[in-house]
Symmetry: D2
Amino acid sequence: LARVLALGQESAGIVTSDGESSQAFKVHKGMGLINHVFNADSLKKLYVSNLGIGHTRYSTSGISELQNCQPFVVETLHGKIAVAHNGELTNAVRLRRKLMRHGVGLSTSSDSELITQLLAFTPPLENDDTADWVARIKNLMNETPTSYSLLIMHKDIIYAVRDPYGNRPLCIGRLIPVGDMNGKGKDNSETEGWVVSSESCSFLSIGAEYYREVLPGEIVKISRYDVQTLDVVPRPEGDPSAFCIFEYVYFARPDSIFEGQMVYSVRRRCGQQLAIEAPVEADLVSTVPESATPAALGYAQKCGLPYVEVLCKNRYVGRTFIQPNMRLRQLGVAKKFGVLSDNFKGKRVVIIDDSIVRGNTISPIIKLLRESGAKEVHIRVASPPIRFPCYMGINIPTKEELIANRPEFHDLANYIGADSVVYLSVEGLVSSVQESIKARKENENSLKTQKSRVGKIGHCTACLTGEYPVELEW
Amino acid sequence: LARVLALGQESAGIVTSDGESSQAFKVHKGMGLINHVFNADSLKKLYVSNLGIGHTRYSTSGISELQNCQPFVVETLHGKIAVAHNGELTNAVRLRRKLMRHGVGLSTSSDSELITQLLAFTPPLENDDTADWVARIKNLMNETPTSYSLLIMHKDIIYAVRDPYGNRPLCIGRLIPVGDMNGKGKDNSETEGWVVSSESCSFLSIGAEYYREVLPGEIVKISRYDVQTLDVVPRPEGDPSAFCIFEYVYFARPDSIFEGQMVYSVRRRCGQQLAIEAPVEADLVSTVPESATPAALGYAQKCGLPYVEVLCKNRYVGRTFIQPNMRLRQLGVAKKFGVLSDNFKGKRVVIIDDSIVRGNTISPIIKLLRESGAKEVHIRVASPPIRFPCYMGINIPTKEELIANRPEFHDLANYIGADSVVYLSVEGLVSSVQESIKARKENENSLKTQKSRVGKIGHCTACLTGEYPVELEW
Amino acid sequence: LARVLALGQESAGIVTSDGESSQAFKVHKGMGLINHVFNADSLKKLYVSNLGIGHTRYSTSGISELQNCQPFVVETLHGKIAVAHNGELTNAVRLRRKLMRHGVGLSTSSDSELITQLLAFTPPLENDDTADWVARIKNLMNETPTSYSLLIMHKDIIYAVRDPYGNRPLCIGRLIPVGDMNGKGKDNSETEGWVVSSESCSFLSIGAEYYREVLPGEIVKISRYDVQTLDVVPRPEGDPSAFCIFEYVYFARPDSIFEGQMVYSVRRRCGQQLAIEAPVEADLVSTVPESATPAALGYAQKCGLPYVEVLCKNRYVGRTFIQPNMRLRQLGVAKKFGVLSDNFKGKRVVIIDDSIVRGNTISPIIKLLRESGAKEVHIRVASPPIRFPCYMGINIPTKEELIANRPEFHDLANYIGADSVVYLSVEGLVSSVQESIKARKENENSLKTQKSRVGKIGHCTACLTGEYPVELEW
Amino acid sequence: LARVLALGQESAGIVTSDGESSQAFKVHKGMGLINHVFNADSLKKLYVSNLGIGHTRYSTSGISELQNCQPFVVETLHGKIAVAHNGELTNAVRLRRKLMRHGVGLSTSSDSELITQLLAFTPPLENDDTADWVARIKNLMNETPTSYSLLIMHKDIIYAVRDPYGNRPLCIGRLIPVGDMNGKGKDNSETEGWVVSSESCSFLSIGAEYYREVLPGEIVKISRYDVQTLDVVPRPEGDPSAFCIFEYVYFARPDSIFEGQMVYSVRRRCGQQLAIEAPVEADLVSTVPESATPAALGYAQKCGLPYVEVLCKNRYVGRTFIQPNMRLRQLGVAKKFGVLSDNFKGKRVVIIDDSIVRGNTISPIIKLLRESGAKEVHIRVASPPIRFPCYMGINIPTKEELIANRPEFHDLANYIGADSVVYLSVEGLVSSVQESIKARKENENSLKTQKSRVGKIGHCTACLTGEYPVELEW
């Protein structure tokens, strides 16, 4: 089962193929969390084979509707194709108009239908008796530079594609043969199958192991026993790659691997770097559980301060059970956390958070800690402030909502009630991310081949700096 | 709210328009009965205006999938259109291939998406700066002769279209102004709005009254206060119209009006005709409740026999409550009916049924009546035997399942356990249907204008005779 | 599976026993319609044996709560008993106080828990080492005269009990051996099992046949192969039995049998009697579908007028689909019925209804018929007006809501918009009900034994006359 | 809203009172998680006042049925009472028999109905014209020594009761007046209300603060503005109190407070004690997230080894989504955790777990760590092995399932695949729990009064040692 697991939870879908006839796709989609959309029955119907693609979705450009559910399936002159897409096209408006001018009615607002129809349409079809899907995919990649990771299924083949800038992640896993489970025989030649996902962390839970990333611009053909690079579409001369740096900061699970490094390690380095950039005299370092814990441990270690837990998650509180009333609105976030007051009473506390987006989460936490006896509360944020919208697939609040664009930002510590607050610098973040990539480049000869194909390595920091990797079209 | 109410219950959808921008369609669709798909919340979201089209569906050609739910909405160069379709195209395969050859990917197997994309595609679009929707609709009607009743919504206009053969029904109702509710002021000039439906019976329940049918081939433009014939596309010279005769026999609700006559009246005439064709010496006439009751009353009256109830519907029995076991399988239909044995003990009974399709419903009823004391049980069927598949929108069992195509048909009375069984003749059915239409033609001068536009009147009896109104393409 | 099927649909429950240990009851209950409460899984868990009792409920005295769901199961010193109860005790308040004075906490407001705890409590328990359930049941019957039909399950025995006045129905059915299904072998000696129900109509649908009624005051012991009368508790000297006459008029299904006659036949006789009491010069007789149809056919036959259908049920309209608005509120009942106007245009119509309780159902029907062309509309009601509350298990609107107690009643025809309206007399109803019972008493010698045990036959007409069969206690 | 929050999640219920009439209880109960049982509608119906009790349940003695849902409500001669109960009676069988001998039918198998009926029954009721509920509660406490924490609601009063051994927790919180939210005015005299709960951690999330524990044997009367001790029922001479030590080890949330100390602090001390009892030469200390983290931090600090995360929770994996197959069964727990391999590759790892009950959770974790590069894996368990059943309210696997009672226990390290495994000693656990209690006793004079009432302090270690605080009756 090869699949794309995107980050979101608005809708989910799976398409499977019996691998022989392109007519025999089985489709199941729905709105909501993946566990609501699928059950034993619907999965059973999908099990016609071991070949399929899936998708979960957190809509960015498309309005949230069932119609927009991926994967998209269309029948073409050369059989059905199914397409799963993660990302957002920077020139979608122009491409939509182009297609409609050719008389194609578009039934959804999603970029993914757009990609699917573009694949069905290009190029001159009257003469195209055999479907050259690779040519069609390359044409698509020339039409739109970024951002997309794609799975395209036709008959018994799945094409895995990453845009030339490598903006969205995509990686390949190998199903571990059952005989290998005991840790022996890893080098046996037989492979049970391949899986593809946005995040490598999903492999372990389905019995697969990390194999490699799809490279920026690469078109990979996946069949049952074979993973084969068909082509690598280059970027314009001089453009560095532009993998989304926010995946490291916030979205990805800590055990995921991007560009050869574990996300957890990057986050811990961010904490260490933050300790260098913004030290503070205090008694203990703690975290807003759970995403900031690696950075907090890194900060504590670098500073030589003890790491102590000050909050615990409140698993008993359901959202609907307790009716919101004035009392509880005033209490705010207290509902979500329990407070371990004995651990910090009378102490000076440094709280590491992974990001401050709107500022309304950290503020009640600070109040809660003070009321429970903290002498000082210093906030250190393990990423730079977000100031700009993302047009490449990440759902970021509007500019007006971002705390970094509001007047309160000038006196942020006071606004959120902290004794001090400091963000990690953009340079600090970029060096935390790139440090080990560069180190590896120099040390590992085995990477040479790949490096040459990948070109200059960079990261998309658009939401932090406003510098987008490509020009935006409207 | 102008709408098409088709007969089925597999899926349902509604699209509304704010009447100004073609971007502002609101869509809600789902699988299942209309009451499961819609609730107060989903309806509230749709109430942007008084303009909308809806659809309920019993799939015929398309496989049953959410993707196939109507109405179909696509964005074209000239704004969004929404299309609801009742029927089945006789040349769908050729039209699909034609569209795909032009590079349009089709995302569903339904004829309705096909119609929608054909409207978006034709004619040469590069030069088509203003969208002439009527030209596009006429092009579509020239591409495919039958069968379709369509509602096409664009901005603040709904086009109601019936194919040149008039195979599927479509009629227009007028919302009764609230002031008219007391029965006065019916002639006031102000109209609150228009509704369109497959069956006129739906009008009463939404506060509308029957206005008129859409004629075969007619393109009607409906705006808030106006109903206007834009064109009538003719049939090939000499071809009679071909309204589906099965709507009279089986599908339509008895209070619906087609071609100027109430369905109930046609069914009663079928019963009277059946009494002439197949009388029987008996003590009483009864019905399989409830659809055959008009025919049974007609038969009883013509014969001079008393009409007596012998069965009552069993409303207490739910399907899932009583586990099927051998005992109950042997009892069969007895679960669905209660038996009024005192009404027929020792009597000779004539049971009128509206149709015998597979033969496995009537058989246990006969057994039940005999066991409860009926002396004789004669079956009279108020329609001819079904022998051929329908390719125009009605879901009929396969040829092999139809009792009229099976060897048992030669000794049907014995097979179902009846003392005798006789079907209505095709001629008898056709004359029961056409009798009052012809009478009215001669008597009513007011119909002259319409008649000239409608051409020669006929009915599609393909499922009974195998004579299809147009040649079938594959 | 022996069971009580009461009339209601507020809750449902089934208890089964493995027949050996009184600890091994399986229970499943829930709120809502029986099909919502039970599914394949819950039924499977209940199938420990062929012994069980069930209950569906339309609450009368008890507030509608899950706690009140029947059957009630309690553990006593002599094992568990399960009790299903249909009816309402006329001295419940005094009995509750008595039990609580003995220190029993009552966890629900239902008479059924009361009955169950009374069975557990009486008589002096310290000396009662063996449980004499028959003595306990007789004690219970002496404590409370009416109204109750009971099923009491203990280990492998079910006791079926009807109160001395026979106010609520209860009858026994015999499971038809599978070999008998062909109508032969009915006299074979082997019985597959017994079922008990409030209404005999339920037997057919589960493969059983009517065996006999439980008599007023009778205690019947039912085991797998045996039905045995243990005792018949008499009424006070001179009191006639008091079976609820409203079961004939309104509640029971037409194919049910009470006191040796089919409900349908009683209703037709009511229509005939009504034709004698209140004839009218008209063109046709019709019905409000479907419950008044037998009376309408009886009336039409007695008068010599044709029976014609004027309304059909509107199955397409769901309650939630069409949002109520001013237009539809003005249309009222029109939503529920389609109108067969061709059948009565210009005619004088007699509509037979089975009862007029509040008067707000018939009124819009009359308006609808007039607007659709009826020349006159006469209403004939096949039962007398309801004026008094029921304290014996039937849920009747408050005195103030009953049309017969309101000022409008004095000019009812005008109020509902009819040309005339006449109810059946109480005497007419009683004679329609008792006519064939009396005839049978005289003709059938075989009934002699039973008659002597039943005593003087009467019917409870309290809701019509205010004459309750026993004194009410508060 | 005064309430008991028990630990379980099998069912939930709330009863509220309008505070005036004991008839006006509102009840809502259901099976399943609290968020499934309650929604906005059901809560709205309950809001007749600010007085109520609730319950969530993880059944121990009673079979899991809707009938057993708490709170129990019964009507007594002196009005309705509602009872919520946490615990399990050690002499339930004898008490049930006693009640049934008096003619009370018990409708459930739960100890909570038993308690409720005992309150309704005792003492001699004929003379008991005024209900002395305190006398009844004391009678109940004399009938049964342990274990129970109770909330009893009657009219506008709630009685909070803890058994003389204090086996189950119960504590009181004070609603923070809204004006106090800013941290000022804590000493204002006005109180908005009181809440009662098994765990103090629930207070924060509803806007309350910890007030005090209910003492062993104490009967507390709670009205809107007043918390008043009515009596303290003593234990037999010489018996120490017996609060469940497993609440500290496993059940309670870390931010809960029992006996004046935070659970988190006890767990950290257990880790420190474990480091003293069972040190190991290793490179890093880690945890099985999340419950063992306090102990792991305590162990790491005491040993001077770094605390490092090696596993992260896998939030993406739903239970139903991935079909179990042979591959995944072999992978076992890997599904629930992601592995942070870079953090421990080539290192010697000490994993702290809070308990090993069956042994089948830790085993796949160890395998996973080894396969991901751990050089050694040592297991240290921050509690002693469980060997005996609990009869006082905690659901413990059968003796046969407990790893400590199985042959594999003798070679446990080998069985689970660890390099070494050591449990905390019973003495170590007890001293970790009692250390600060004893310290406080000596230091704090303010506790003197309480101490004298509490008597000798002990803890129930029955599941570890087999020494039950009272003799068990059958």
